[in-house]
Point group: C2
């Protein structure tokens, strides 16, 4: 059962600060009704061209609960447990399990992984109710900017939009900056005049750290000696030393940066394929 408010069709516009035909957009044949805006269509200030198309919008809060419910119906148990070292997984699931390491930014800290290619890209956003802002709008800047402009309508509640934002690499600051919020709101109002509607109101300010990785995402198998041999590895039970060393299959899947939702189904399919191959090889 797909719940109400999970997903909706989303009319969209991507603007450019220079003249373009949109030919460079790899996704132009994936979305529906793709077309380049005509010369005489009204463009926001500072914008020289644009494309329009139809895509979909997903409500992350509803989507994650739906995913969880789907998995539970298929017999998946959910356990929350804080792990300092990869081999502590054993204390949760036992010896026979394969391990999928999808720890995101945590892959930087988890002993046994400690991937120092991981870094955060700070994103500050505003969630608002803006009943008149019904299109996805973003501006692709000709110059590199750490302040992208985007407005993403969400399926529910009615009128909810995400307004952004920032794209600050290696910034771990999880506090909300008032001056940043003001700048986001002012810029968004220039590009989406519908935001100025009197029915618009702010719901919340948010900061998130996108889990990025230098060189791109890591989706691959690794066999790791457990227990982890490292003077500084957490050692919770003396018994671990007694059990001896063994190779543990770990499939990594992390580092997707700003496009985690978009890449998640592809990554999951790749993880399953890798897992099948490795387990077949063990037989």
């Amino acid at each position: 059962m797909i719940p109400t408010g999970l997903v909706m069709k989303l009319p969209s516009k991507v603007y450019f600060e220079e003249h373009t035909t949109g030919a460079q957009l790899w996704w132009k044949d994936i979305v529906r009704d793709f077309r380049v805006l005509a010369e005489d269509e009204v463009l926001p200030p500072g914008v020289k061209s644009g494309v329009s198309f139809e895509t979909i919008s997903v409500n992350p809060g509803v989507y994650l609960l739906w995913l969880k419910s789907e998995l539970e119906q298929r017999g998946v148990d959910f356990v929350r447990h804080r792990l300092g070292s990869l081999d502590e997984v054993r204390s949760v699931v036992g010896d026979s399990a394969a391990v999928i390491n999808a720890t995101g930014l945590g892959a930087r800290s988890l002993v046994g992984v400690q991937d120092d290619r991981m870094f955060p890209i700070r994103g500050q956003t505003i969630v608002a109710i803006a009943p008149k802002a019904v299109e996805f709008v973003t501006v692709i800047s000709a110059t590199k900017t750490s302040n992208p402009i985007y407005l993403i309508p969400r399926p529910a509640p009615p009128g909810m939009v995400l307004v952004g934002g920032t794209f600050q690499e290696n910034n771990w600051d999880t506090s909300i900056h008032k001056d940043t919020a003001q700048a986001i709101w002012q810029r968004a109002n220039v590009f989406v005049p519908a935001l100025a509607d009197p029915g618009t109101r702010i719901v919340s300010h948010n900061v998130g750290l996108r889990p990025a990785r230098a060189g791109g995402p890591r989706v691959e198998a690794e066999y790791i000696d457990m227990p982890i041999k490292d003077e500084l590895a957490p050692r919770l039970a003396e018994t671990e030393d007694v059990l001896g060393i063994r190779k543990q299959l770990v499939v990594h899947s992390y580092g997707f940066g700003p496009a985690g939702y978009q890449q998640s189904w592809g990554a999951a399919a790749e993880v399953v394929a890798i897992l099948r191959k490795e387990l077949d090889g063990q037989r």
Copy 2:
């Protein structure tokens, strides 16, 4: 009922990299058995003097649960609720409540407070079982350093110690740095040879952000117009606009930096005194 493992007596040594009588230590008359170490007592390398005394150690994990239980027995309800703006408190406790704003680092983000004097001081530490390290040991450096050395035994479980650390201002990085952990462990082993005992093992690596404030903690009353008049203030219900403006008594108590546990009882007493004075004035 004070639970087992909550608190213990703690033999302590504070070392200095220069000659000192310890006369500059404001707390020397508060702790028990304070004395300056004799010239012929063995000092760690790089250390020129030291003092010894007895104080107490509290187990934060047990302590907080004990505090909560004590408060519940006195009729205090605990409610977890994420608030973006100070006036959202109304939706949780109603109109008649006085508000104590003890939001720590959150005071930087909370609309209606947004105290940009707040900043984090990053602390990376190691929790270990070190049965032979039974004293609190720290080194006061003659030169400013962002890497203080300290080892704090905890009441429970047996042998548990906190080993630190870092003191990095304006650093929001919540990931664990392996090189930092190595440096902490090596420095601590120089100053506390008992750490080298074969019974020693790492339990966890930790990073915390101490909620510091330029100019020191803020403990004071303020009357704030609610709802918050700010274009960017979250506005969850239209009804708030209908209720009209009123002055809300808010007592702030935040910004204690690295010494929150030590200052907490004094801060609480001050908050109660402020609250009594303001409420008496309203009658």
